[in-house]
Each structure stands twice: as structure tokens, then as C-alpha cells.
Amino acid sequence: MARVTQLAAIAFGAMAALMLAGCGERPQVIDYKQGKYQGKPDEPPYAAAPFNGNKDMWERDIRNRTQNQNEYRRIGS
């Protein structure tokens, strides 16, 4: 009888421990780490003609072009 009681106590203890383990669940969302690009290198958009490496000229052209989307400026408000 004492042995059965002892076994029941062990089983109860094991079950309690198992159930408690559920409370300590780890977060299941993966924390992604940024990898390093493994592909071919790309050249900047101002490298080739017509800009031939002139970054300032390219930036100026792009800025002016962007302003074409502003009709308040394009046709006046």
C-alpha cells in the first residue's frame, strides 16, 4: 500500500512538473537576422552614360523630375 502511495506521489510530481513546463514556453517567433548579400555587385545608377559618374548631376535631374509630379508647381496653383 505504501509503495502504491509512493508511486502515486511520484506520478503526481512528474505530472505537476510537466504541466508547469507549459508555463515556461519559449517564444515561437523566429528572430531573423539580416544576412549578407551573396550576389553580384551592382553599379550606382549614375555610373554609366549620360551621367558618367556625376552623382550631383543625377541627383539634380531626379529632383527636377520628381517635381514634375507636383501639379501645384507644374501648372500653378
Binding site: 553580384k40 551592382d42 549614375y46 517635381q67 501639379e71 496653383s77
Partner: protein
């Protein structure tokens, strides 16, 4: 120059799909692949809104983080591009992208999934600028020609703005001030950082300063 960004003004978009057509035509995009599409919310209900959606070239792009072969890179201008020679077409980026931007051609036998294709901000890819190889794999490199993405330049109502982030934000601000409504910018919070995110604030900005006027996620 700030980074390149897209901004879609839901108050102006008339769902004409001109941006979609311009993108398809300019980049010779294959059948079944839609780099850009127009999404309408509450279709048919008074007050419906349409937005043009493509890759937003996020500041902290989830596609870059999940790619198992690290085929993504961000250009100097903040455009998120990828190397198709490295892509294995696994589709992780599709699940990670909040905008559903990555597309996979399925024209092969047994519906096999090809290499990922997405909006390049008309900036080509890692091939020689304006070469035949670049056009075939990634489409036209308009940035290298000093032009902006075809979709934004083609937009008849100028609902879709594309270009230098500071400049288009200023155009939008002026527009909102003029009309006095519709300051919400769809997708900006998700793509370029939420207003409450500390990393999204410009250097020296006061605490609580929003990243963009009325940015919505």
C-alpha cells in the same frame, strides 16, 4: 538625397490601372506576374478607396531578413533589389512581405515556381546598366537614365508619387494643406517605420515626432 519611396494618395486614385499597364509595358513583365496592382477597399460602397500597391522598398525589409540565400540587397538610393541568379524561388519572401510584392512566374511544366520577380523601382538589377541581360531579367533601368518609375510618371491623377522621399513627402504635404483632408498615407508606417518606433525618427527629432504626416500602417 534621401531614399527612394512610393506614396499612394487614396484620395486621388481612380482605379484606372494605368500604373499596372505602364509597369507591364515598360518592363516587359511576363503573363501572370503583376509587379504592381490596384487594390480597392469597400468596392461598390460609397466612399470606396483604391490604392496602387507594389514593393515599397521598405527601410527594414522583411524579405531581406528571411531570404535563405541572401540574394537581396539595398542600393545606395534605398531601393531593395535582388539577384535572380542566386534566387532559388523558395517563396519565403512572399510570406514575409506585408504588401504581397514578390511574384513567381509559374509558366513552366507542372506549375513549377520560377525565380522571384518584383518591382525594382525601375532600377534594373545587378547586371550592367541598360544592358540586354538587365532588361531581360529585371526590366528597364529608368533610374540610370535619370527618370523615375514608369508607374508614377504615368499616373494620370498623380495619385502615385515616386522618387526622393523628402521631395514626394513635401508634394503630398502641400496637397493635403491645399485640400484640407486626406492626410493618411497608406503603407508608410509599415514600409518606412511606425511613428512610435525609435529607429524611424530622423536624427535630432523631438520625441513623439511622427515619421510622416498622418502615416498609416
Amino acid at each position: 538625397m534621401a531614399r527612394m519611396k512610393f506614396l499612394c494618395d487614396a484620395e486621388r486614385c481612380i482605379e484606372c490601372n494605368g500604373c499596372v499597364t505602364a509597369c507591364k509595358q515598360e518592363n516587359d513583365v511576363p503573363w501572370g506576374v503583376n509587379r504592381r496592382r490596384v487594390v480597392t477597399i469597400n468596392d461598390g460602397v460609397p466612399g470606396e478607396r483604391s490604392i496602387s500597391v507594389a514593393c515599397m522598398h521598405c527601410s527594414d525589409a522583411p524579405c531581406m531578413a528571411v531570404c535563405p540565400v541572401d540574394c537581396f540587397y539595398r542600393s545606395e538610393e534605398g531601393v531593395v533589389l535582388h539577384d535572380k541568379d542566386l534566387c532559388i524561388g523558395c517563396g519565403y519572401c512572399f510570406y514575409a512581405c506585408p504588401f504581397g510584392a514578390p511574384q513567381f512566374p509559374q509558366a513552366g511544366a507542372f506549375g513549377v515556381r520560377g525565380k522571384m520577380d518584383k518591382c525594382t523601382f525601375c532600377a534594373g538589377g545587378p547586371e550592367k546598366d541598360n544592358s540586354e541581360a538587365e532588361f531581360r531579367k529585371y526590366g528597364r533601368n529608368r533610374l540610370a537614365e535619370g527618370k523615375l518609375p514608369a508607374c508614377a510618371e504615368m499616373c494620370s491623377t498623380k495619385a502615385l508619387l515616386g522618387g526622393d522621399g523628402d521631395t514626394i513627402a513635401e508634394i503630398y504635404r502641400q496637397r493635403v494643406t491645399s485640400r484640407g483632408k486626406g492626410s493618411d498615407v497608406w503603407g508608410w508606417g509599415t514600409a518606412y517605420g511606425r511613428p512610435e518606433a525609435p529607429t524611424a525618427k530622423p536624427p535630432g527629432a523631438a520625441p513623439g515626432t511622427p515619421a510622416a504626416p498622418g502615416a498609416k500602417s
